[in-house]
């Protein structure tokens, strides 16, 4: 099949754009494993910088992972029931609550952090603990969890499903755990990935909230760019990519459920 010039023009543009994004990533990743960036690749490849980053910033990286998990636990435990109430009892109060919940997304992270500092900055040990940052992350990521779960819940006629389960004798908790939760799982998963990704990558808010002992991965990243050799900063970026890429890919796959259904049988015809 012959294709006209518009096709090739488009293809070219797309490739160019991709290169525009991909090349710096590749360059930066390569810089992280090059012996000497200024001499270029000819100086040879090494894992030395990666190890050095680990030596210097293992604390920050581990703290970030820990924060992401803690943040996920909190947003799931609080967010799923919250989404349930928002969908099941839509009234003025719950709608207002939903708006308030979304605020932290709209407000700049720095402003939110400042508010937290003004309010809780005086509590010394609390101020300097990782829990302080966790609170910031939970505030920031909660709306993503709630929204994602609520979207799935509104699409599944929860009321009738629950009534069906209740007629079979199931009390509230049985219904919630065995009917609502499993059916809301796609939303919970999507929300969870979002929360983890956002928490690991969050910089603005965390930068304001952190103390020398509670540096997270992105804060450490900024730190390394500012004060270390270029190779170390690049190696750090590489580690960040390795952590975040699988999450992004998983999120993309969840967003395309069509592909999963491919194997499923067609609905049967009525006889």
């Amino acid at each position: 099949m012959r294709r006209g010039w518009p096709f090739y023009a488009q293809l070219g543009l797309t490739v160019l754009l991709c290169l525009f994004i991909v090349v710096p990533i590749v360059m930066s990743a390569l810089a992280g494993v090059t012996v000497n960036v200024f001499k270029g690749l000819s100086s040879g490849l090494t894992l030395r910088w990666i190890f050095e980053v680990w030596d210097l910033y293992a604390q920050s990286i581990l703290l970030s992972l820990w924060l992401a998990v803690a943040c996920l636990v909190v947003t799931t435990l609080a967010g799923v029931p919250l989404a349930y109430v928002l969908v099941r009892r839509p009234n003025r109060l719950t709608r207002m609550f939903e708006e308030i919940l979304t605020l932290p997304v709209a407000i700049p992270g720095l402003a939110l952090a400042l508010a937290l500092l003004i309010t809780y900055g005086g509590f010394g040990s609390f101020r300097s603990s990782w829990v302080f940052i966790l609170i910031g992350h939970v505030l920031f990521t909660m709306p993503f969890m709630v929204r994602s779960v609520a979207a799935v819940m509104s699409a599944m006629d929860m009321k009738t499903l629950e009534e069906g389960a209740a007629s079979l004798g199931a009390g509230f908790w049985h219904r919630f755990l065995h009917v609502i939760m499993p059916n809301a799982m796609p939303g919970i998963l999507a929300g969870a990935l979002m929360v983890v990704t956002l928490s690991i990558g969050e910089f603005n808010l965390t930068w304001m909230l952190h103390t020398p002992l509670t540096k997270t991965l992105p804060v450490g990243l900024a730190d390394s760019y500012a004060s270390m050799r270029l190779e170390i900063g690049s190696a750090y970026t590489l580690i960040f990519f390795v952590l975040i890429m699988p999450l992004l890919i998983a999120m993309q796959m969840l967003a395309n459920p069509g592909k999963k259904r491919r194997a499923a049988l067609q609905p049967a015809e009525d006889e």
Partner: protein, 394 residues
């Protein structure tokens, strides 16, 4: 097929009454929703053990609300009382009532297979594994869906889903089976087929069942008795034959398919329609007294004077030879229905009248025809302001 599965004694928690059906009574029930909607006006209703009662009425008349009161999904206003046999369940929650429900949308659990859906209630009741599997298998067999046991719900057709919903609802041997327009989402042919199946299932189980529908034919086919509802009130309770042949009000007559209406007068024990005069004694069903107080069509108040509404189906008027004709009309449309042709005729009343003829009868649109009434098939109501309004407000 598998009647034994139903008869075998189950665990104590899930056993139907010995008689095979629980008698249900609603006394002085009303329902007002929080927003002020009075969905149900005060009513009493008794459903006999093992009976299939059909709630029939147009959309919004309160059928679902009655069903939900019985299920325990809504509670009646203060003063109302609901009993299952000897058991006062008025304030009991749905989880404790042991009712089986079939929803219009089926409400099957998408996260479970067919077998898991049917087993759900048994699991909740902690029926032990072996008995559970056995009963699920028996249920699926009885509903002819045993080959679908491991399918996911989204791989089923509408008819199959309906069967799963039924199997799930009766697996626990509930005291009463509640069905809310269960066939509405299906196409016409399947609807008739499933209707027959549900009918024989209900007879076989001997379970008390309440079936909500807005379809007159479905109501006739399934109900031991039919409750016709109108705007939150019970318009008539009776067997299908009574409802069909002896409607108590123009509303009921119209709703169960007597769609032809003519204006007439009642004079000296006769129905008068222009030049036509028919003795009231010949009329199949004449209600010339107060339709509420004198439900009996033989009451002696039928000699009253005044205006009358005449209702009849397509068999109430027939084409005849010109010299025997009582009235004349003009054919506006002909639809061939196979075993008969249905004519739409103008010139007889204010609006058009439908009547049936033999499909081989030679007739064309625009023909003038002569017709005779079949008095046996006429329903006549003396005109009361209330009854009129009710019929028109539909």
């Amino acid at each position: 097929m598998n009647a034994t599965a139903m008869a075998q004694p189950g665990s104590q928690t899930v056993q139907t009454e010995k008689t095979g059906g629980t008698r249900i009574e609603l006394a002085r029930c009303t329902k007002t929703f929080p927003d002020g909607t009075r969905a149900l006006l005060p009513f009493d209703l008794t459903i006999n053990g093992g009976e299939t009662l059909v709630l029939l009425g147009p959309s919004g008349c309160g059928k679902t609300t009655i069903l939900r009161l019985i299920a325990g999904l809504e509670f009646p206003d203060a003063g109302g009382k609901i009993t299952f046999g000897e058991d006062d369940v008025t304030r009991q929650s749905i989880e404790k009532r042991r009712v089986g429900m079939v929803f219009q949308s089926y409400a099957l659990f998408p996260n479970m297979t067919v077998a898991e859906n049917v087993a759900y209630g048994l699991k909740v009741q902690k029926v032990e594994r072996r008995e559970r599997d056995e009963r699920v298998r028996a249920m699926l067999e009885m509903m002819h869906i045993d080959m679908l046991a491991d399918r996911r719900i989204d791989q089923l057709s509408g008819g199959q889903r309906q069967r799963v919903a039924l199997a799930r609802a009766i697996a626990l041997r509930p005291r009463v089976l509640l069905l809310d327009e269960p066939l509405t989402a299906l196409d016409a042919k399947l609807r008739v087929k499933l209707r027959t199946e549900i009918n024989s299932l209900l007879r076989k189980l001997g379970i008390t069942a309440i079936y909500v529908t807005h379809d007159q034919e479905e109501a006739m086919a399934l109900g031991d008795r039919i409750v016709v509802m109108q705007k939150g009130a019970i318009a008539q309770i009776g067997t299908p034959r009574e409802i069909y042949r002896a409607p108590l009000s123009p509303f009921v007559a119209d709703f169960v398919g007597a769609s032809n209406r003519l204006d007439g007068r009642i004079e000296q024990n006769s129905l008068v329609l222009g030049d036509v005069k028919i003795s009231l004694d010949q009329i199949g069903h004449a209600m010339t007294g107060d339709p509420i107080k004198n439900g009996d069509s033989n009451s002696n108040s039928r000699s009253g004077q005044g205006l009358a509404d005449i209702y009849f189906r397509a068999d109430g008027l027939a084409i005849c030879a010109p010299d025997q004709g009582q009235i004349r009309g003009r054919v506006e449309a002909i639809s061939y229905l196979g075993e008969k042709s249905r004519l739409t005729v103008s010139g007889i009343g204010e609006s058009v009248i439908t009547l049936d003829v033999d499909p081989d009868f030679q007739i064309a649109i625009g023909d003038d025809i002569h017709c005779r009434f079949n008095p046996e098939r006429l329903t006549v109501f003396g005109r009361y302001p209330d009854a009129r309004n009710a019929a028109q407000a539909m």
